[in-house]
Amino acid sequence: MDFIRLKNVNKQYKNGVTAIYDLTLSITKGSFVFVIGGSGSGKSTFIKMLYREEKPSSGEIIVGGVNVAKLRNKKVYKLRRRLGIVFQDYRLLPKLTVYENVAFTMESLGAKKDETRKKTLKALELVGLKHKIHNYPDQLSGGEQQRVAIARAIVNEPKLLLCDEPTGNLDPDMSMEIVNVLDEINKTCGTTIIMATHDRDIVNKMQKEVVVLKDGRLLKHIEKGGYEE
């Protein structure tokens, strides 16, 4: 059974720009998928529709059995609890420590204190930051901040992790480090990972499933491969 399935999805923004044309594709559980394509090809729009930040204009989007396209605003939080999201700009809370930033997710979900503590430490260990839990975000490198953001995204053990250019602000070494962390999560936890990127080196090196978008259309969907357009 496909974990994610899109059927004839179109997305037109309010200003009239059409970002996605007739997109049909499916992704199986436990995959690691790169979404690539030039600037403005619709990668972010695709990701945003998966976590229901944007609604498709038409078509069907099934995520883990739920039709996200039809999800009512009030129910969106239920979807969000089942997935993690990572952005290019980390989006950490500057006044909270590393630990607090990750625990924030659990607290927002109303988890118990000891459960919060256990899962937070586990997530931070997974991204290799257990020794910096008392630091504040501005005391960390970009790569470390992004690892905190990843820990925050996976702390609730989601089945799906969405990443929109997580390495966009990082140098090649740090980028590689982040992708290795994601790969590790994918392998050890079985989390499905969808990562939008235009980092050729990473895609070429990892040889994973690749979805290629061009001007809002699906150009290619390959099981295993490198960067091509």
């Binding site: 969000r80 989006r91 809370l93 924030f104």
Partner: protein, 299 residues
Amino acid sequence: MKFFRTLRRSIRDAFKSVFRNFSLSLASISCITITLLIVAVSILVTFNVQNFTTKMEQDLTIVVFLNNDITEEQIENVQKEITSIDNVDSISFQSKTAVKEEMRKESDIFNEVMSTWDEEDNPLKDTFQIKVKDVELIHDTAQAIEKIDQVSIVRYGEGMVDQLIIAFESAQKISYGVVIALVIVTIFLIINTIKLTIFSRKREISIMRLVGASNFTIKTPFIIEGMVLGLLGSIIPVLAICFGYVALYNHFGGYLLTQMIELIQPEPFIYMVSGIVVVIGMLVGMIGSASAVRKYLKV
């Protein structure tokens, strides 16, 4: 259990936020304080006025004197006509003989003088005593009665009483207006305070949304913050009620200006008024923050 954890965290966050944005919170709290002080004063005044106007209204009667040569039949007619007036609540008849007996009881001199009067040459008049429904219309009612055939004199009110009551009642209406206006101003101020809190926590809120916090979790801290503002704003008014009213009561010895105006006993009156003030403060805070949340949080 999860509900209570969320609630506890919300209360903690609310207090934190009140102190984080202290200058702004202080503005809201001061405004609530002023509003509630005025609300408190108007409640105190209103209840007291209500208390003694009802007492006075109960005492306020129209006395109708009938002509001396009136017949039994005519008396009945007059009674019918008076009863048919809308504003008349109750009517009772006192014959001149009964009046005479009452007066004789009241003073020895009257007793001496009147002892010689017999039924035929009693110069007193038969009377009706009338209670009205609405004191404000007493003047019109009295005039209507005066026009009735066989009615000699109509008297009502001991001097200025009815006018006093009317004045108090309009004062009461004005104070309602002032209170409502102030409550509205306060709600707007609270909306602004909470709006700024929401803006200062925009990032936090957007992350909460991303990680799947429910609307309830996101909204509750702000609503509670509004209630906390209301609660803090009601501290001074409550103290003012409790100490101020008791001091006033003791100072005047329970009466205001004349023996006619009796003040309400401080206990349990002040606790009731304090309760009302706290509830109004928290409600106003809650309404303000709820509408700010609806407007700026879009959840």
